[in-house]
Symmetry: C2
Subunit: 547 residues, 2 copies
Amino acid sequence: MKVVLAQLNYTIGDFKGNSEKIIDQIKSAKTHGADLVVFSELSVTGYYPNDLLEKKEFIRKAGVAVSEIAANCIGVAAIIGAPKINENERGKQLFNSAFFLADGEIKSIHKKTLLPTYDIFDEYRHFEPNRDFEIVEYKGEKIAITICEDLWDELPTESEFGKDKLYQISPMEELSKLNPDFVVNISASPFSYNQEGWRKNMLISKAQNYKTPIFYVNQVGAQTELIFDGGSVFINENGDIIKELGYFNEDSLLVDTKQVGAKQLQRPTGTTEKIHDALVLGIRDYFKKMGFKKATLGLSGGIDSAVVVALAVRALGAENVRVLLLPSKYSSDHSIDDARELAENLNIRYDIVNIQSAVDRFEQELAPLFEGRKPDVTEENIQARTRGIYMMAISNKFGHILLNTTNKSESAVGYGTLYGDMNGGLAVLGDVYKLEVYRLARFINRDGEIIPENTIVKPPSAELRPDQKDTDSLPEYEELDEMLFNYIELNKSPKEIAALGFDETVVRRVIRMVNMNEYKRFQAAPILRVSSKAFGFGRKMPLVAKY
Amino acid sequence: MKVVLAQLNYTIGDFKGNSEKIIDQIKSAKTHGADLVVFSELSVTGYYPNDLLEKKEFIRKAGVAVSEIAANCIGVAAIIGAPKINENERGKQLFNSAFFLADGEIKSIHKKTLLPTYDIFDEYRHFEPNRDFEIVEYKGEKIAITICEDLWDELPTESEFGKDKLYQISPMEELSKLNPDFVVNISASPFSYNQEGWRKNMLISKAQNYKTPIFYVNQVGAQTELIFDGGSVFINENGDIIKELGYFNEDSLLVDTKQVGAKQLQRPTGTTEKIHDALVLGIRDYFKKMGFKKATLGLSGGIDSAVVVALAVRALGAENVRVLLLPSKYSSDHSIDDARELAENLNIRYDIVNIQSAVDRFEQELAPLFEGRKPDVTEENIQARTRGIYMMAISNKFGHILLNTTNKSESAVGYGTLYGDMNGGLAVLGDVYKLEVYRLARFINRDGEIIPENTIVKPPSAELRPDQKDTDSLPEYEELDEMLFNYIELNKSPKEIAALGFDETVVRRVIRMVNMNEYKRFQAAPILRVSSKAFGFGRKMPLVAKY
């Protein structure tokens, strides 16, 4: 059988656009002699529509789109993903479903059994789990259709609780009893740099265990925070990956199960390159899907804004990026020089606005109220918020989205000013620890200096008071990042983290900073997720708690 | 049997404080001759700990607290709520459990069967559903122990999809086969003004259906956004509510099942009074549990800030509330007079800072960049953000939490400035439509004028340009609020809303404003929830979508 893996980039709720993409692919596959085209999970709606699924009109429109796509499946079959109303008396309103389309109609509907409800996933909110298992027979082949998590009945993760089987049943166990010739898995599995390999290993082990080839089709493209990386594969019954589609871009490939041919794999890439490509896609799709073209941000001369502006130029083009340099009396000369050099290297428009006169005005007006009080964080925040006003004025006046430059280390410990440097429509580095920001800078400079060397080598500082350095109030980033990773990604206790070789007092102080600053992160911009545990809706911590 | 309903206010993760409260209540009940004391759902941890449940140390500490409480149950039994590790090979890590404590030890553990995973609830994220049903025999009585949703196997809500049975099984159906003498339900059910009556009706129907008395114990107190109203009850086997505990305060009551005595019910109150009391509790608990005492906000002379400051004074005391009046060149004289009069009526400290000189400074600095461009929303936002800087300066310098005054109508249509008047640690009115804000103002003035009459009767305006009125860009609030309620709370389609008697073009424009402004609400302060569908984590909409 000739099967096309169709790895596309959908927009949530764009039934017209998504259907057109799907139908175009079906038509093209047909002209190439394909028997079957496989699309990703919830391809008709885009993954994940969330509470739009509670709107009956949304479900109705998805149904109309499925019928339209089915009408185009003449002489070629397709598997697409869409919600289906639960007609039973009991249970949630919908099933997360795969539709098998052929002969211009819906031939069968296959419902998802395992509904992930952890981290960023929340499928049990909207869907009822499947309990029936059926196989499709098409052109003499028996096809087992599964949806994403259906293959993940065993967790490869080291859980704090030591449990690796989250679910009561294994769909593959059930389906394998029906002797499928191959398995199709339609998926929407987001990128995370520290879960690399898990996905492939799981697919390989399933193919080997059940001695069945697997067609795995993943979504590609960013949906606000989530970046789906694609990387769809065909794996043979020995567990060998024979075909592999591109990462971070749309791709498709015809595989003839009778004549599989030679291996076609992607060039291996390092973690930093993957994160780089993920962030570029994240920025590009956010703007495109929002209907915006232009970005702005403030360049401080520091590493974070330097990396963000380079990524933005890569994603949107130099002509669509405009920056401000916003020095104060505490800004060092080299900061302005470095920022200017960076803007010139990137060939983007920059303007310089000195914030000092506005800051002075605030301080003068507040002087009577602040009489007898010493300068403290209040005055530092006034500077950051004054910069925020200038940046938002550019954003408002010219229709540029402000990019936020906070990194994950800062965000974790609350090292940033709400309504100041925490402003922005999208936080590009909010899931990237500081040390990885440096690696990104080196990667960006791999073919020549874009980010000035001085920006990379100088000690990090917010420059909100004379001679301020990040390490005045924080441990060195080498230490801090490791503590944070163990607390945030791995859920380790203070004692366990200290046992890795850190001073327990410092560990407890850092963890206290993380916990105390939930209130700031609550109001932070959406963060492009690249790790297994990003701040945002995948990490739900009570704001008010004594713990 | 003598049963004490113990309706207490817990702090999430405060094992020491929560245990002490529980043990005090057990000791006091014992001295009053009680046989059994019933506490609310997850009383040991506070409801809802969310992803703290993923930390093994958190679960361990909860276990230690349960043992300590059990040790105090000698000569008296207790039912408390806490998480319990799932020891089975498969499934989620934990059970949401009720512990029956007697003779100084844990006698039995009863696990929750129905795990709500809709709106603000997310229990399937952390818990495995129960499948076993057992009854407790104690002092010759058979007790069926259930946890909150376990009684809610039928939804009273009008679902868009017409389905009223969310779950596959009914715990009461199973437990009733074991012939309990009475049912205990430990609960954590938050207040929502438009679901009033549902809870009682459900309890009444269950008592009647199974001809069994019910002890229902609810949590009281606010946990950031969620306000638990208490209102615990004892209902006899005929479905008569015989005893009812207080609303929005801690309360407890001993009920002798052999001698139930006369009805003891709470004074009936209207919706506006309930919302008022809910918001006061919401503010008070947020500050208390955060470890703060003092609030600040800006008084504009308008109705929203007037209602918020009155609620804040009620919650925290006049001595703990301090305000700024922040006029600009567009502020009318009456605005300043009204704000001043209000501050004087409430006897709180106020200062006046004119924002114009800072605003002028921004405009002058930006003039070269804005050359040839007309004034637009940019300049309006600069005013709102300048006010934001002054408010946050007071907050930072004096340790006051800034209260946000945005109402639900404004929040819905995005009528507010990010990093300006959207600033604040807590949004007091974010779930209160504008018309209800007026009713709250009248309620606050019920015994004499606190909020100046002029503030209540004048047309609403943001005063960001000359002669601006809300109705310049929005329908009248009588119309707007009804459209919004039908879209947000009831999930109606534009056509269905227009069919209620509105111009469909206006309806579509309003809905478009709601959808377009998800990005603003994403960064908004946490909102005290009083309705069945508040903005925030109970309403998950994709930020980037074409729908």
